[in-house]
Symmetry: C2
Subunit: 301 residues, 2 copies
């Protein structure tokens, strides 16, 4: 595996491969790779000739009071994880390389989808995501890009962006990878104290509770949300940012679950903000985001 | 030459050519092609294996009180002009094809450069331009795209966009093509009555006057602007929108012309808003925008 730090180098490396018809799979990450990332890289490896992983903590998707400066970074470990999972290139540019004229010139503005869920708590976040992903897509020019369902709203927005702006690639969304107790893998889990780490499982447990309530016949979104709040409240260190049950394509709140719905939550465990989600049909069966997206936008995007 | 109306068709047509290594030149237009467009198409023909011309009146770059509805359209004539100039494909999509989910989802936001000159008179205009050009670039995936210097601010913004967002292509800017009396070619010239058409030459004459004043040693921007206003004022039907002398890269107003400067103006002739510009060095010699851009951003963009 090759570590590449400049736009020029990654382009120069990929150009001859592309000319020879190689199919390029791309996994954009902010580094500090965990098994969730590794599962995306392995999927890219299975489905493509060349696998590129990017490793870039993007400043424009962090708010002024967020954790950009202390976001965990470990390039040596990332090299090992990416190589073991089958990456051919690890693209780890500097901030200056990605924003050569400073931030604040061109931005990809996300429409109404950025106004819900995490976008409400983190204004500007999805604009930063859409912008850096546009840059990365233009640099790598992949055939397929891989994202995890843990960041559901991000995956939805990027699927829509690819469709709306006609990026010549596909986005594939893979299921959330979890710890044995159910906690969704996240680079931010490293912020948790041992007690917080134990308590953090309430996010997953609240989603399970929602699934069980649906299976038992509950359809009322307010009551379902209250059940989830109850579960989250069991952790002393928890403080709810949001718990919502929304239409999985518009992200608008639902009053009743009569069709597939996204159950999404963001919870502070101590000072660490964690997110999780699940797509359920009204019977409480969990659905895959990728399948839902593919069914909704069936055409070549 | 092939007339193509859908995204799917143009992609399907270009994919095998691209695989065989063909170099693709692209000329985005709003149709109603004139000799200015034809000169861009001929340049694309000389420099590429495949030439694509797009023909799309983009609604999102028109303000609510602007001329979107009555902007001149003549696809039959465009076919003739594009074919004669050497185009291989004329891509003329519908509004629904380019904005399948309606306008108002994803937009490419232009930074400070959109706040000057035409951007001040036409809020949202360059956002619409940057968005539709992003879509077209993603659809056509050209190696080179051609724009005319008549729309200087557009050319500058798109050069910056390609650089900032890392679009894998080059933008080339060709000189403004003029009528024998100096009037810059524009599809909007068709709105002019015979008298207005005669008077419209004052835009060009004011630029010539600025060049002569520079050559005579004038460096003061206020006095230079007044000379231009005087010339424009000779036309009874004229009303100045703006006359500005600005830094050609930042578009910020200059007080004195001590280095290359952009002289730009927008003038209503009757009800028709026309624009023109020239790049002068302090001695009054006219410079090429393309050379200036290439000198400023010398790296592969």
């Amino acid at each position: 595996m090759e570590l590449v730090k400049t736009v020029r180098e990654i382009r120069t490396s990929l150009a001859p491969l592309r000319r020879r018809g190689a199919r390029i799979g791309f996994v954009p990450t902010m580094g500090y790779l965990h098994e969730g990332h590794a599962s995306l890289i392995r999927a890219a490896r299975r489905e493509n000739d060349v696998v590129v992983v990017s490793d870039f903590v993007n400043p424009t998707q962090f708010g002024p009071n967020e954790d950009f400066a202390r976001y965990p970074r470990d390039l040596d470990r990332d090299r090992t994880v990416a190589a073991a999972a089958g990456a051919d290139f690890l693209f780890a540019p500097s901030v200056e390389e990605m924003y050569p004229d400073g931030a604040g010139q061109f931005f990809v503005d996300v429409g109404p989808l950025a106004g819900h869920l995490c976008g409400r708590s983190r204004p500007g976040h999805f604009r930063g995501v859409a912008t850096v992903v546009t840059k990365l897509f233009n640099i790598v020019q992949p055939h397929v890009a891989y994202f995890g369902q843990k960041d559901y709203q991000q995956a939805l927005i990027l699927r829509r962006m690819v469709r709306d702006l006609f990026f010549p690639l596909r986005i594939t969304v893979y299921p959330t990878v979890r710890e044995p107790d159910g906690l969704a893998l996240s680079s931010r889990n490293t912020y948790l104290s041992p007690t917080e780490r134990q308590e953090a499982v309430v996010l997953y447990q609240s989603l399970q509770e929602a699934g069980r309530s649906l299976a038992a016949g509950e359809r009322d979104a307010t009551r379902l949300r209250h059940r989830m709040e109850e579960v989250v409240g069991r952790a002393d260190s928890s403080r709810v940012d949001y718990i919502e049950i929304v239409d999985p394509l518009t992200l608008l709140p639902l009053e009743r679950v009569e069709k597939p719905a996204l159950f999404a939550l963001a919870v502070f465990i101590g000072k660490t903000r964690l997110i999780d989600n699940a797509l359920f049909d009204p019977s409480g069966k969990e659905l895959s985001a990728d399948e839902l997206f593919n069914r909704t936008w069936s055409e070549w995007e």
